[in-house]
């Protein structure tokens, strides 16, 4: 039987993060090529919806995002099985998502948010559910769950067409090779000016913490 590899995940070092939100912006950019988002801010026509959230407290700031739990509780509660394990990541099939919020409540990290869905830069309307707006009945915009997918769709059609993301990732990979051993670097990790974010891939995480434990002995 193939040795089970735990999922990778991205984690921030609170001591390094300066709260600039560049990671949020980058996350939004690479996930919205299909919504017409190219390299320039001027191409953005939808609200910025990131999949990680920079939080602030009095003493620190850092982004919080999905841990890609091995026994993902979000998936357990999803009534339509929209959340699946896929190539070492927990991902949401946004087409299947019914916006029931169960996952958002179940997630111990608050990694999931519900927002309007967009396609081709326009709000994505539902076929049946209507809402009363100014006395008229209009098709309601779909609302779906968004969360980190480790930039799985970094090679979606829009990104391939623009050729820009691949290039950016390549530059970064050659400049500072990913610690995970050649895995493509998620957008947030690539752009962080403080190197506060790390892609923790399992072999690394385990050997590191064992080494650290060993040193403490």
């Amino acid at each position: 039987m193939k040795k089970e590899q735990p999922n990778s995940f991205v984690i921030a070092e609170a001591g390094k993060c300066i709260g600039c939100k560049a990671c949020e912006l980058a996350c939004f950019a690479v996930h919205n090529r299909d919504n017409g988002v190219a390299a320039a801010v001027g191409t953005v026509t939808t609200p910025v919806i990131p999949r990680l959230y920079v939080i602030r407290t009095d003493s620190f700031t850092m982004p919080v995002q999905c841990r890609h739990c091995e026994n993902a509780p979000c998936a357990g509660v999803c009534p339509v099985q929209a959340i699946v394990q896929e190539e070492g990541a927990i991902t949401i099939d946004e087409d299947r998502c019914i916006g029931c919020k169960a996952c958002a409540i179940a997630c111990p990290f608050g990694a999931i948010s519900l927002y309007k869905a967009y396609s081709n830069g326009q709000e994505h309307k539902q076929p049946y559910l209507r809402e009363r707006l100014d006395g008229r009945l209009e098709r309601k915009t779909r609302v779906i769950a968004y969360k980190c997918d480790l930039c799985h769709d970094i090679t979606n059609s829009g990104n391939i067409a623009s050729g820009e993301i691949a290039a950016a990732a390549a530059v970064n990979n050659s400049g500072t090779p990913s610690e995970g051993g050649g895995e493509p670097m998620p957008a947030c990790v690539s752009v962080c000016p403080e190197q506060a974010l790390k892609l923790v891939s399992q072999s690394l995480g385990a050997s590191r913490s064992r080494k650290a434990a060993g040193l403490r002995l």
């Binding site: 912006l25 190219a38 801010v41 957008a187 752009v191 000016p193």
Partner: protein, 466 residues
């Protein structure tokens, strides 16, 4: 327009997270505040380069309902209500709203000029790859926006070379006030006035290409078109936020009329085009208007660091030696951030030149000038890291990791545009030859002095107290 009062660069306290990335790119340490708290800009020091605007990533998120409404923020920022892009903490005052109203006024004769680099970056705002060259679509879009005349700052760059080249030769021959610094970057000029008033004598007295075109629009071309200068609305599209400041300087007027009435950035032009519902991608190419729309390759390369120097040498060489310059492409001058130096053999003269890209690198040269140890004859200074291609009003990037690639592509597009021009030297541009023959007479002549040259004023704190 009130740029004299408005500091142009602002930080929205509601949005600023206090990350201080803006402070890290600010070349003059004008951003003050403690980490984690909203920052403030010292308007006296600030050179209005807009690099902080390019860097800031703190945006107004949907999930923060406590913020002032988007509509109100757009209004405060002078932006069109149709703008859909996210709003960031660091921003520059917009003039698109004001311009939109002015363009609808049938009584005004509306003239526009575009800086060299707008044509290599505007398309990025519509999703095209970095550096896509679109001079023809840009001219067509400006006509659809209701401009009566579409002119070009490149023409002003050619005039600048004629004036500045002659000035340099004069100074080198007489050995006076050397080194000579370029004066076309308004952020550099403001910095010299604020932080190094002792070098003001060393700045070329030339106005920038934008102001030169502005001055010619209200004189030479007004005469050709038979319009009263007072009826003209003179607009410039610039990659630079500091051009808004420059246009508002008191001395930038011809006989009491502002040379440039309004400046918008590359981003603002894109917003106006979208606001009007113009299908930019499918516009047919249109030419610029004559005569202030005819330019040489030398005028084009002003947009990249080293470009002014290269253009000046192409013309200076031939004015001094009366021989054709052996190599048009001066690769030793081309580069990026930092200081580059070279020695150029022009006849018997060994011309020593330096190029400063990024204002933070200028201080060592300023010290040399004070000490009297500066070995150069001619120094080009541009405040932004790679010249106008990286200006504060240029398309803003979503991913910091793409900055290098964007600047590179914009720059090579400019150089490609130059090498494809039939005329690549300013003094061979037929429209320039005609301008001097019919109107200006000679470089540095009486009319030139009146219209195209200026004085600089100390803004050191003592000087400012009046």
């Amino acid at each position: 327009m009130t740029p004299n009062i408005d500091p142009i660069i602002h930080i929205d306290e509601e949005l600023c997270t206090g990350c201080r990335r803006c402070a890290a790119v600010c070349p003059v340490d004008a951003i003050i505040g403690e980490a984690g708290t909203p920052q403030k800009i010292d308007a006296h020091r600030c050179v209005v380069c807009g690099q902080c605007v390019q860097t800031c990533a703190a945006y107004a998120a949907e999930s923060e309902p406590a913020l002032t409404s988007r509509a109100e923020k757009l209004r405060q920022r002078g932006q069109l209500s149709s703008v859909r892009e996210p709003l960031f903490a660091a921003y520059s005052t917009g003039h698109a709203l004001e311009l939109k109203e002015a363009l609808a006024d049938p009584k005004r004769y509306k003239v526009v000029q575009c800086a060299p680099v707008i044509r290599v970056s505007l398309a990025e705002e519509f999703g095209l790859p970095f550096g896509t060259l679109t001079p023809g679509k840009m001219a067509a879009a400006l006509r659809l926006l209701n401009f009566d005349r579409v002119y070009d700052t490149n023409f002003g760059a050619d005039v600048t070379i004629m004036e500045e080249g002659s000035e340099l030769i004069g100074r080198v021959m007489s050995g006076e006030r050397l080194p000579m610094f370029t004066s076309c970057c308004p952020a550099w000029v403001k910095h010299a006035e604020t932080a190094a008033p002792h070098v003001l004598d060393h700045l070329s007295s030339c106005k920038s290409p934008m102001q030169m075109v502005g001055a010619l629009v209200k004189t030479y071309s007004a005469e050709l078109d038979g319009v009263a200068p007072a009826d003209i609305l003179s607009v410039a599209v610039m990659p630079c936020t500091c051009k808004k400041f420059e246009a508002g300087r008191d001395e930038m007027n011809v006989d009491g009329l502002r040379e440039v009435d309004m400046v918008i950035t590359t981003r603002e032009l894109a917003q106006l085009i979208k606001d009007k519902g113009i299908d930019f991608m499918n516009l047919p190419d249109e030419p610029f208007d004559s005569p202030l729309g005819k330019y040489s390759g030398a005028g084009t390369i002003f947009g990249a660091t080293g470009g002014v120097m290269e253009a000046a040498i192409r013309t200076g060489y031939e004015l001094v030696t009366h021989e054709s310059i052996p190599n048009l492409q001066l690769d030793f001058i081309r580069g990026d951030e930092g200081i580059r130096t070279a020695t150029v053999q022009i006849g018997d003269l060994e011309l020593k030149v330096a190029i400063v890209a990024g204002l933070k690198y200028v201080s060592s040269i300023l010290e040399q000038v004070s000490d009297g140890t500066c070995p150069y004859h001619f120094i080009e200074v541009m405040a932004c890291p790679e010249g106008c291609v990286s200006g504060g009003g240029q398309p803003k990037l979503l991913l910091e990791t793409q900055r290098k690639a964007a600047y590179q592509a914009r720059k090579s597009s400019i150089y490609r545009h130059d090498s494809n021009q039939k005329v690549r030297k300013s003094h061979e541009n037929p429209a320039i030859i005609k301008l001097y023959k019919d109107f200006l007479g000679e470089p540095l002549g009486h009319t030139s002095h009146h219209l195209l040259h200026t004085k600089f004023f100390s803004r050191s704190v003592k000087g400012e107290l009046k």
